[in-house]
């Protein structure tokens, strides 16, 4: 069995969109449970097929749902939903129900807060922390958001902390237009008035008021929020946490893969195996001519597959050369069809775990 992947309590699966991350996370979760570990797979946006295969639906957004897999350890799946988590967080940290309601009814929160850069990502790590600290699982496998810049996800705690620490929030909280302060503060107030006029001209008074109201309603929550961000940040760098990077095949994808690997290392994360997924077989590559000049209807397809096999082998070889670090490179062949049930999913997990590093 491959040493790295299931050796820690927390496995974070990262990579560009469309490389089969979510399916691999589920497949590895199944294998983890089969090996006796109580396992939770946390994922963002699984396909209908994968949800069907696992037998879970939308209810997994609110809480983890058990998968009837008959594994030695139990397997559960949770779907990550930013809005649900944000709401829950506000309820938890609000001093009273009224404070929470003020936030929920704020227009800025309703329309825009969910779109604030990093919020979706932050909510995912937040949820991870919540589950981790409850300690109900031997292993958690976390699938990350389906964006090319999925690393925003990892930077989210830092970004939120920076944001809360920066002047932005305090500035927004200062009641510029309220009559307060003595004459001595007159110049300050005049300057603030000028800033307010400028801001009003650019973004309009209503948005300003909504934002200020939001940040005010939110202010009792800051300390709890900030402490959590710090703890989440630590968890992602803790010894029990391992990252695996899933990459697409072929030389085109190499810049993405190198970028991710470098970023993870720079941020101080522990990077385990790099999985190059969906590799076309290169059985024909060396015999391309022979196989594609038969003059029949198969020529076009066989020529394409010969090219794809050669391309993916070339990509793997180049990537191996460019990655000067010690992470093992696992080559996972393209499956004829994406897994549609638990048996196929388990088989895929087995294939991944049985790969010898390239």
């Amino acid at each position: 069995m491959n040493p790295g992947l299931l050796s820690r309590r927390l496995l974070v699966v990262v990579g560009a969109g469309g490389v089969g991350k979510t399916t691999l996370a589920a497949a590895l979760g199944l294998q983890s449970a089969q090996r006796g570990a109580a396992t939770l797979v946390m994922t963002f946006d699984p396909s209908l097929r994968l949800k069907d295969a696992l037998g879970v639906g939308e209810e997994a957004k609110d809480q983890a749902v058990p998968v009837k897999a008959g594994t030695r350890g139990r397997l559960e799946v949770a779907l990550l939903d930013a809005k649900t988590t944000f709401d829950r967080l506000i309820r938890r940290y609000a001093p009273d129900a009224g404070a929470a309601e003020r936030i929920f009814s704020n227009r800025f929160y309703r329309d825009l807060a969910g779109n604030l850069a990093g919020i979706l990502e932050y909510m995912a790590v937040e949820r991870l922390f919540e589950v981790q600290s409850e300690g109900q699982y031997d292993r958690i496998i976390l699938d990350t958001p389906p964006t090319r810049q999925a690393l925003e996800f990892l930077e989210a705690p830092d970004r939120i902390m920076n944001f809360l620490d920066s002047g932005a929030v305090r500035l927004a909280l200062r009641p510029w237009w309220e009559e307060s302060g003595g004459l001595g503060r007159m110049p300050m107030r005049l300057a603030a008035k000028a800033v307010e006029r400028l801001a009003d001209r650019i973004v309009g008074r209503r948005l300003l008021r909504d934002m200020v109201e939001f940040f005010r309603a939110f202010s009792p929550l800051y300390d709890g929020f900030r402490d959590r961000a710090q703890e989440v940040r630590n968890l992602l760098r803790a010894p029990e946490t391992l990252f695996t990077l899933v990459a697409g095949p072929g030389p085109d994808r190499i810049p993405d893969t190198l970028f991710f690997a470098r970023k993870l290392r720079e941020a101080g994360h522990r990077l385990g195996p790099i999985i190059v997924n969906q590799i076309h077989p290169d059985a024909l590559a060396a015999r391309r001519e022979e196989f594609t000049r038969a003059g029949d209807a198969f020529d076009v397809g066989l020529d394409l597959f010969a090219y794809l096999g050669e391309r993916d082998a070339r990509g793997l070889e180049q990537l191996g050369r460019l990655l000067s670090h010690e992470e093992p490179l696992l080559a996972v062949p393209l499956q004829p069809v994406p897994p549609t049930d638990l048996t196929q999913l388990a088989a895929l997990g087995q294939i991944v775990l049985s790969q010898k590093p390239v």
Binding site: F108, L116, R148, D200, A283, P336
Partner: protein, 307 residues
């Protein structure tokens, strides 16, 4: 009217879709077709890691505008740079503008404010075709960033216009929302792979475009399809290719992989067609590395299908 004529009347064409579906290639091919029609065309890439230049066979743009053919130009646009140049425009005192741009509050605002980057990119496109800059183009082809939902780029002005209501930013959002919603001025091309998740996302995005912007896309492109599997010839291919170093088992595994991958493509195309009755172009997976030859081949396919 053939579809290409229709696209050639637009001022902005947004090519959208998830990462890894060949969006940049499709955008570049459309750009070349429009330039060949006599339209002065600017291809905009919004990704700090440039890849458009590989297809065009040019140097990386590094933010500046490059010539990539007759009437064809390319630029890698950084949203942050557009936002900063807007500040410089609005705040005529240089020192003050520099101070604002360097302040942490502004940095957080520029990075974090929802929709601001999307708006600045769209605003840049609008001003390019309206001749506000020294460079002017008849049409901008925008390779929309793969981050977030495919609709976030297109919906950003609308969301902001609703939330802001007033102020210059609000007015700008309103203007842009109108521009995007007008099918005479703005065309949307949706690129997808004929696989489960990409098709699901394409279907959702089409519904979202109709619901939020009141308009469907002009065109959906199913990219990188495996070729049709020749029917009813199970033992055939091996016979013509006997006596080689490849084992019969390896060959039959490969044929099986081809047949099944194609089956997935066909099933997903069928599903896509059930919810999308508008123009759908199929582009094959080609045995070519990413580069000018691939772009040339994809451009020919689109020329044939759209022309």
């Amino acid at each position: 009217m053939v579809l290409l004529d229709r696209l050639a009347t637009c001022q902005l064409i947004v090519v959208t879709g998830k990462g890894g579906v060949g969006k940049t290639t499709i955008a570049a091919a459309i750009g070349r077709l429009l330039a060949a029609r006599g339209r002065r065309t600017l291809l905009l890439e919004v990704d700090p890691r440039e890849s458009l230049h590989q297809l065009l066979g040019t140097e990386p743009s590094g933010g500046s505008i490059l010539k990539a053919g007759a009437r064809l130009f390319a630029q890698n646009l950084q949203a942050r740079a557009v936002i900063e140049s807007l500040v410089r425009e609005k705040v005529p005192i240089g020192a003050l503008a520099r101070k604002i741009i360097a302040s942490p509050v502004f940095q957080h605002f520029a990075d974090g404010a929802p929709g601001l980057k999307e708006m600045s990119v769209l605003g840049y496109a609008l001003r390019t075709v309206e001749g506000d800059y020294r460079h002017k183009a008849d049409v901008v082809v925008l390779d929309a960033p793969a981050t977030g939902h495919g609709a976030s780029m297109l919906a950003a002005p609308l969301v902001l216009a609703d939330a802001i209501e007033g102020g210059q930013l609000g007015e700008m959002a309103g203007d842009l929302a109108e521009f995007i919603a007008n099918p005479k001025r703005c065309g949307v091309v949706l690129a997808a792979l004929a696989e489960e998740m990409p098709v699901q996302e394409a279907i959702e995005l089409i519904a979202l475009l109709k619901a939020r912007l009141g308009r469907p896309p002009e065109l959906v492109i199913a990219n990188a399809l495996y070729p049709e599997f020749p029917a009813g010839r199970a033992g055939g291919p091996a016979a013509g290719r006997a006596g080689t170093a490849v084992t019969a088992q390896a060959l039959s595994d490969l044929l099986e992989l081809w047949r099944q991958r194609r089956e997935v493509n066909e099933r997903e195309l069928k599903r896509l067609r059930r919810s999308w009755r508008g123009p759908l172009v199929e582009v094959p997976l080609l045995p070519l590395d990413r580069g000018p030859r691939l772009l040339g081949a994809v451009t020919s396919v689109l020329a044939e299908e759209l022309g």
